[in-house]
Amino acid sequence: MTAISSRGWRRYPLVERVGYHLARVRAWGRRATVAGLAVRVVIWLTGLGGLLLALPGSLRGPALPLAVFLALLPAVAPASAWVALLELAAIGTVALTLVDESRQVLVPVLLAVAALLYAHHTSAALGAQLRTDTVVPLAVFRHWLARAGLVLAGSALLGLGIVVLAGQPRAGADTGYLALGAAATAVAAIAVGALVHRSGGPAGAD
């Protein structure tokens, strides 16, 4: 199959162009594996679920088509910035809903959003390393699932503890809390950086 380059685009009739792309899609369909596609489907479903759950109940219906489209972008390109954008959009939506005193967000819903967004993140991390035509054994998925489950369980316990210790949410920002939050973020960033660059640094080291 001869590739139709962007320069020679106009030289080919529409029918030939459509046929060319159909042939490419068919070839991709023949090559794709169930496991490779399953990872992309999981990315799409978790992204869609996270976005919809983050929205207030009254907005879920109208926002569904947009959410479906937005969730498709990270599924198609799991190594792109669309993954982070979708997760930030979901977290931002939850934050706005929490700030709005007329709406109430239940903790189980927050836990579900957290679980879906983390599953979205980790499945995108896996999808970024696998082509859709990669043969993947079940052991990979089992290991990935078990680790994600442990992380979610641990972080849920930790988060619930922090929420209980911090007491009831306050309306508006507080300088002390802001400083505490900034310090916690800095500590987390330093910890992650230290873990990455320990033992003489990751890149170039044996």
Partner: protein, 438 residues
């Protein structure tokens, strides 16, 4: 064959790590800024996950090896390779292998991309299992191994494993000729010679002469005639067969072992079958290729020679600007005068017909095997193609008829016993010419 590459380098953070840190940190900041500590629930997994994964990061990336279980196979036979990743005492790794596979090797699973989980203490192997579809000399690989650690947060540099050679022998199409060769000339073999000598077949009963062995005395005739008589037998001789491979032109599409056959396919498979038949029955078989180069496999016999011929055949290649058939074949002594010469040719140009006519004029025992597949047709098609193709076919049929007229039997290759009729014809022709020469 095993190839071990040089040691890999270190680990690089992926976009997933940056994303986890960014999303988690922003969620934490938002929680503090807005005073909504429930947002910590969202930030938690993004910060705890990388922390857990990076805490048990492997010290170095594993060194993989690409191994071919058998460097030779046969058309339709299995091809098995493996990429082995040693299990050092380190946390589990995800290894993604991408291997370049020759066009004529069909993998059983996937298209060359495989993922595997490397977990100590067992060495993990990614198996590349497939089927060789066409004869030839290939290289399997190179393969690229990418190690992913800490659940997709760190990735190692690509490790490139050099390719390994793979030889696929042509399958021998069944060929079983029962016809004797016209000019048996060796000192041992299975063909009956016209010359009398020690052998199995009774030729005559003659009076005893000094030097005759006692066990050859025919007691029944001796008793009846009263004089000593002995059995005279025909000696068993071997013969030399020279296969001339005309591979200057390729026609027809090759579909592998289960598909259509091109000129090269038919030539190589027929040569393999004829060589197997004659070499294993004790005759000496030599092969000469004229195409991209003038190559020759000296005459030999037996199974070892057959295997050498297979090795020689997989190197057959086509190049139209190579050596053409001509007098060089005779002047270089590539075809012995006493040998049965079998020319495998598609008869696509006049040079091939001229070669056959020239060999026939020298009095050699000659058989031409037509290797042009029936499905071969011109690539470019327009309104004149059908008429032009028909004209060309008529001209080719005419050439074949003229060759038959000068005593060159031309027979299309059809596998089992397809040359028997022609060999019988050649045998009688040789006998007649000998009688006439007396």
């Amino acid at each position: 064959m095993t190839v071990t590459p040089a040691s890999g380098r270190g680990w690089l953070p992926t976009r997933a790590l940056h994303r986890a840190a960014g999303v988690g940190g922003l969620a934490l900041l938002a929680a503090a800024a807005l005073g909504q500590w429930e947002l910590v629930l969202l930030a938690g997994p993004f910060l705890l996950g990388p922390a857990v994964s990076l805490a048990v990061r492997p010290a170095r990336q594993p060194e993989a090896t690409l191994t071919l279980e058998a460097s030779t196979s046969v058309e339709g036979g299995p091809v098995r390779a493996r990429v082995s990743v040693p299990a050092d005492p380190q946390p589990p790794l995800l290894c993604v292998v991408s291997a370049q596979v020759p066009r004529w090797v069909r993998l059983r699973y996937g298209v060359g991309y495989y993922a595997t989980l490397v977990r100590p203490p067992v060495t993990t192997a990614v198996r590349l299992a497939g089927t060789a579809l066409r004869w030839g000399s290939y290289r399997l690989g190179p393969a690229t191994v990418r190690s992913v650690a800490s659940d997709g947060l760190l990735v190692a540099h690509h490790e490139v494993l050099p390719s390994v050679p793979l030889t696929v022998y042509p399958v021998s199409e069944p060929f079983d000729s029962e016809e004797a060769l016209p000019r048996a000339s060796g000192i041992s073999g299975i063909h009956r010679s016209r010359r009398l000598g020690p052998g199995g077949d009774l030729a005559d009963v003659r009076p005893f002469q000094p030097g005759d062995r006692l066990r050859r005395i025919n007691w029944r005739v001796t008793r009846r005639t009263g004089d000593l008589h002995v059995n005279a037998t025909q000696s068993d001789r071997d013969a030399q067969v020279v296969l001339l491979l005309d591979v200057r032109h390729e026609a027809g599409a090759s579909g592998g072992i289960h598909g259509r056959a091109s000129v090269l396919d038919r030539t190589v498979r027929a040569a393999a079958a004829i060589t197997e038949h004659y070499a294993q029955q004790g005759d000496r078989v030599a092969l000469v290729e004229f195409g991209s180069r003038l190559r020759r496999l000296p005459a030999g016999t037996g199974r070892k020679h057959y295997l050498s011929a297979l090795e020689w055949l997989v190197e057959v290649d086509r190049l139209p600007t190579g050596f053409g058939p001509g007098g060089g074949l005779l002047s270089r002594g590539l075809t012995a005068a006493s040998a049965l010469t079998i020319v495998l040719t598609p008869l696509l140009d006049q040079d091939s017909a001229n070669l056959l006519a020239m060999l026939a004029r020298t009095g050699r025992s000659l058989v031409a095997v037509d290797t042009l597949p029936g499905q071969a047709h011109p690539r470019v098609r327009n309104e004149w193609t059908a008429a032009g193709h028909r004209l060309w076919q008529l001209e080719r049929t005419n050439t074949i008829g003229r060759l038959r007229g000068v005593g060159v039997p031309v027979e299309p290759w059809q596998g089992a016993g397809s040359l028997d009729v022609v060999l019988r014809h050649v045998y009688r022709l040789a006998a007649t010419s000998r009688v006439l020469s007396r």
